[in-house]
């Protein structure tokens, strides 16, 4: 591939497009739909340029490095050095951002036009800014540039979360998000300052060569701080509590962007700081990530099953999938510490491919959910149903997303989970008993998570789209989502299918990242689509592991479907007839007798009652009469599940902070003389501190 332009020009064009999007969104009135459309069009353009730049970096060997000096001389303030540069890792995440962000921008054209009623132009403006800040985070080459872009990304996304801020829950979700994000930013700051002090540089590239010389204690601290900080952004259990609040509150195109791309920036951070800068560590690093990942996968999917708010359900699935990604990262770290870089590359490939895959199908699902929520005016699945007839396009897109996230062939989720299973199976080649047992348990955890995800998505798709409408709002839905929205969804669905059928065509995107982070390249594969196979590269034995040709599986499936369809059609007597549903010989069942989302989840709630601790309340008002307890007039029954982590973990912590704040607040007496006294006291303390602990510098 020969690019006609220099990468710098592409980068500048991309940023200019995004900036135009920001400005056009702010030019007109806040409720101008036309300005919103123009602004989203600029976002589409910017994302296309971003994807082109990413492909140039990944496949064409483009690279650039832009350094900005700080006014007043960089030598005096090396901490403030700013530079943006490209490497395969940033190219990979730039591609994710460009492709998924582009598809969401296309869908936003129609989504915001029809379903967002408050200040669409402002939303479009912040949307473009959000895309640009995320691009700057992945391109940042120094600590200061990274933190600056990171903070901008967090603040912009906060404003997007609280876009519909007239509702109290939205403001509360926004506050939770803001507080958790800043706690995360503090942890990231700690890890980066430790690194900068230890290595004496703020450039990530130079840190990577020097970080090996740090003491093990410092390296452990950097690792833990990075996992806490980036894990919070990614939504890793137990730092995930902001995610199920913030994602449902935001407009759905923003949820798609946050869940599809932004939480992946947390994964990017772990790759940057842990894999690239710190490099090989003790094996407990990997086992810690593996354990947290497994915990997130199970906690995420179990919580998702209990939800009947469609967007909250999807948000919990993001926790699950981040867990799967972190399981892959943990496995890669373990393999690195055992010295088998080939297996580490396989595990890392599974993790980064799943990162891309989750970006695709989760954005698709959130867009589908956004269309249904916009059309019915509710997020409650119990009030949906039967939407498939009015919105077949959205339903089909959501179905593809649901099958992909449930790891069903021939979609992309299955490819990355298959690779991860193979990586876990690779433990048997290491000869380390603890690794074998741990990875076997991890594989079972992954299988349980994907089985439960399938359960959850049969429920989500079935209750939302199928059967008869459960409310008048659902019955009144009359038209499919706008064409641009279906177009954006089709882009994502097509990518899900393409990666599922011919994954080997896309593996080239990952090669540079794998080489840089593990030292080993891709497992062997044949480039031709329908002969592709991905054998596990087991050291020593050529035919070990598993091979697969996803293309052949897909062709066999297609042939089977055609054959079964022919069996169904050829020689059939009459065209299929529509008849009333079978009613068991009773009265025709009404929509109220359909299985509900809560009813669907009930077997899980019962088996995992130790996890959910379901609370049941029932109330009975009696008709009275001679024999009480026989005739009921009305009966109510409700059940709810607990969130012990929030109720017993975070809430006491927040209460503690509030009471501390009240105590500190007493210092603020309001009198000038008191404040002057504080200032003098501080000065004295600082002078003493300099006298005793200073001595650095002239």
């Amino acid at each position: 591939m020969i690019y006609p332009t220099a990468p710098e020009a592409l980068l500048e064009a991309m940023l200019a497009a995004m900036l135009s999007g920001v400005i056009t969104g702010l030019l007109g009135r806040a409720d101008s739909r036309r300005m919103a459309r123009v602004s989203f069009a600029f976002s589409v353009l910017g994302c296309a340029l971003m994807a082109a730049l990413a492909l140039g970096i990944l496949l064409d060997g483009m690279s650039f490095s832009l350094a900005a000096g700080v006014p007043g001389g960089t030598s005096a303030s090396p901490l403030l050095a700013v530079s943006f540069s490209s490497d395969p890792l940033s190219g990979l995440f730039l591609f994710l951002l460009g492709f998924v962000g582009g598809a969401i921008s296309v869908a936003s054209l129609g989504y915001v036009d029809r379903y967002v009623h408050e200040r669409p132009a402002t939303l479009a403006s912040f949307f473009a800014l959000f895309l640009a800040t995320m691009a700057l985070v992945v391109l940042a080459g120094t600590v200061f540039a990274f933190l600056l872009a990171w903070e901008a990304m967090t603040l912009v996304s906060y404003f997007l979360v609280v876009h519909e801020h007239s509702a109290w829950e939205v403001r509360r979700a926004g506050l939770t998000y803001l507080v958790m994000s800043h706690a995360a930013a503090a942890a990231i700051l700690v890890s980066m300052i430790l690194l900068s002090i230890g290595t004496g540089t703020t450039s990530f590239a130079q840190m990577a060569t020097l970080a090996g010389g740090l003491s093990p204690l410092v390296r452990d601290c950097v690792f833990l701080a990075a996992v806490i900080g980036f894990g919070t952004k990614a939504g890793l259990v137990p730092f995930h509590i902001w995610l199920p609040e913030a994602h449902p509150s935001a407009p759905s195109n923003v949820s798609a962007l946050m869940s599809g791309v932004m939480i992946k920036i947390g994964v990017f951070g772990v790759l940057r700081i842990v894999f690239q800068v710190l490099g090989v560590g003790p094996d407990w690093w990997g086992f810690l990530l593996l354990a947290l990942g497994g915990l997130s996968a199970i906690v995420g999917v179990l919580n998702a099953i209990a939800q009947h708010d469609l967007k909250r359900l999807l948000a919990f699935h993001s926790v699950e999938n981040i867990g799967i990604i972190f399981m892959g990262l943990g496995a890669a770290l373990v393999f690195l510490s055992l010295g088998s870089s080939v297996l580490a590359a396989l595990a890392l490939l599974a993790a980064v491919l799943h990162t891309l895959n989750h970006g695709l199908f989760k954005a698709l699902l959130f867009l589908g959910a956004g269309a249904v929520v916009g059309a019915t005016g509710t997020r409650d699945m119990e009030k949906m149903g039967g939407v498939v007839r009015a919105m077949p396009g959205v339903a089909l897109g959501f179905l593809v997303g649901a099958m992909a996230i449930s790891a069903l062939p021939p979609f992309n989720g299955f490819v990355s989970e298959w690779l991860l299973f193979q990586a876990f199976f690779g433990a048997f080649a290491t000869g380390s008993l603890s690794t074998e047992i741990a990875f076997t348990v991890a594989a079972a955890t992954l299988a349980l998570a994907s089985g439960l995800a399938a359960y959850c998505f049969v429920k989500a798709f079935g209750v939302t789209f199928l059967a008869r409408p459960r409310s008048s709002a659902a019955a009144e839905v009359s038209e499919d989502a706008p064409g641009s929205m279906r177009g954006g969804m089709a882009l994502l669905a097509g990518a899900c299918l393409a990666i599922g059928v011919v994954p080997s065509l896309f593996l080239g995107l990952f090669e540079g990242t794998l080489r840089e982070l593990t030292g080993a390249g891709l497992p062997s594969y044949s480039p031709w689509a329908w002969l592709s196979s991905l054998p596990r590269p087991a050291p020593g034995s050529p035919d070990a592991g598993g091979t697969i040709a996803f293309g052949i599986v897909a062709v066999l499936l297609a042939v089977g479907i055609v054959a079964a369809w022919g069996f169904r059609r050829i020689g059939a007597k009459a065209p299929a007839e529509s008849v009333p549903m079978w009613d068991c010989g009773m009265d025709a069942p009404s929509a109220r007798m359909e299985y509900t989302a809560s009813g669907y989840a009930q077997p899980m709630l019962r088996v995992f009652s130790a996890f959910y601790r379901p609370q049941q309340h029932s109330a009975l008002t009696e008709l009275g009469g001679a024999r009480p307890g026989v005739l009921a007039k009305t009966q109510e029954f409700e059940t709810e599940v607990e969130y012990p982590l929030v109720e017993r973990g975070y809430n006491p912590l927040a209460d503690g902070f509030f009471s501390l704040a009240r105590r500190v607040g007493r210092l603020q007496s309001g009198g000038i003389h008191a404040y002057l006294a504080y200032m003098i006291l501080t000065l004295v303390v600082l002078l003493i501190a300099v006298r005793f602990f200073g001595g650095v510098g002239p």
Partner: protein, 322 residues
């Protein structure tokens, strides 16, 4: 590869499909017959499942008014997913022409795809029974899936592969030493997975007439005609797939390792014997157990997972095997 080999390979591939498709209703008939016999009944003829299929094929399909494209498409996709797994499993010869294209993890994925489509279709019409069957079936499947994966790891770890053909070839090459305690324990765990996945007692009663206790039957209440034929046939095919995997891994001997005529015929006959034997054993087993309460099945799946994990620990802790 010479043209002759190519032709023979294609023929053998088609032979695998034909064996599974044509044999599967017979196995259902055998199970029913064995059950009837041990209950001192005459029972229906061995070929009754074929007649039922012929009857359903001759009938028209009816759909509920509230049903969407999901109801119409699910039976084909579900059936195709099951057929797709055929070349990835060991039948009467090795290696299968397409055996390289998928391993046992793909088989798990294809079974999940088949179940996903059936469970969605059950929700489509909006019948209460459909929802009931759907949630139960997905629930059983979700609990069986981790055990299936553990069993694959337990079977595959000594052979170093998740490919069914490699595992079986390894077993044949090892001789009697292959039948280690670890293999037997893992196979016992797989037997429980087989019962759960194919809806046999004590998990689901395929002969029930009471809607409230149904799992699979409740899901297909809305289907008729050829769609129902595909679903019933699919159920038989699914049983054949899992039973075939079970006997091929447990007793791999007899599977042809060359494309010689004698070896192939011998392999085919032995496959028939193994499958009929398994069906007979399932029939005997079903006579002796009652259907369990739905929520007790969680105990069964925990037991199965524990067995599978125990097998892996045994392999690597005690060092049984090569």
């Amino acid at each position: 590869m010479t043209p002759l080999e190519l032709v023979v390979g294609v023929l053998l591939l088609l032979g695998e499909f034909a064996v599974v498709l044509l044999l599967s209703p017979l196995l259902m008939g055998v199970i029913r017959r064995v059950k009837a016999h041990s209950q001192r009944r005459v029972g229906s003829p061995l070929l009754q499942p074929y007649r039922e299929l012929r009857k359903l094929i001759a009938k028209d399909s009816l759909y509920a008014e509230s049903a969407s494209f999901v109801t119409r498409g699910a039976p084909w996709i579900s059936f195709a997913a099951l057929l797709c797994a055929v070349p990835f499993l060991p039948w009467f010869f090795l290696p299968s022409p397409l055996g390289f294209a998928g391993d046992l993890i793909v088989v798990v994925g294809l079974l999940a795809l088949s179940r996903f489509m059936t469970a969605l279709a059950a929700l489509d019409a909006g019948s209460t029974f459909g929802g009931m069957g759907s949630t139960r079936d997905m629930w059983i499947g979700a609990l069986a899936e981790p055990t299936f994966l553990l069993v694959i790891f337990a079977w595959g770890a000594p052979a170093g592969s998740t490919q069914a053909s490699v595992i079986v070839a390894y077993g044949i090459s090892l001789g009697a030493a292959y039948l280690s305690p670890a293999l037997l324990i893992a196979s016992a765990a797989f037997f429980l997975v087989l019962l759960a996945e194919t809806g046999r007692l004590p998990v689901d009663n395929p002969a029930t007439h009471l809607e409230l206790t149904m799992v699979h039957e409740a899901m297909v209440l809305e289907y008729s005609g050829r769609d129902l034929a595909l679903i019933e046939w699919g159920k038989a095919v699914k049983f054949t797939l899992l039973a075939g995997l079970f006997v091929s891994v447990l007793v791999p001997w007899g599977i042809a390792q060359s494309w010689g005529v004698v070896a192939l015929v011998l392999g085919l006959v032995l496959l028939l014997v193994k499958l009929l034997g398994t069906s007979w054993a399932i029939g005997q087993f079903e006579t002796r157990v009652a259907k369990w309460r739905l929520f007790r099945l969680a105990d069964l799946s925990t037991l199965a997972a524990a067995l599978a994990l125990g097998s892996i620990v045994l392999t690597y802790l005690v060092g049984v095997g090569p």
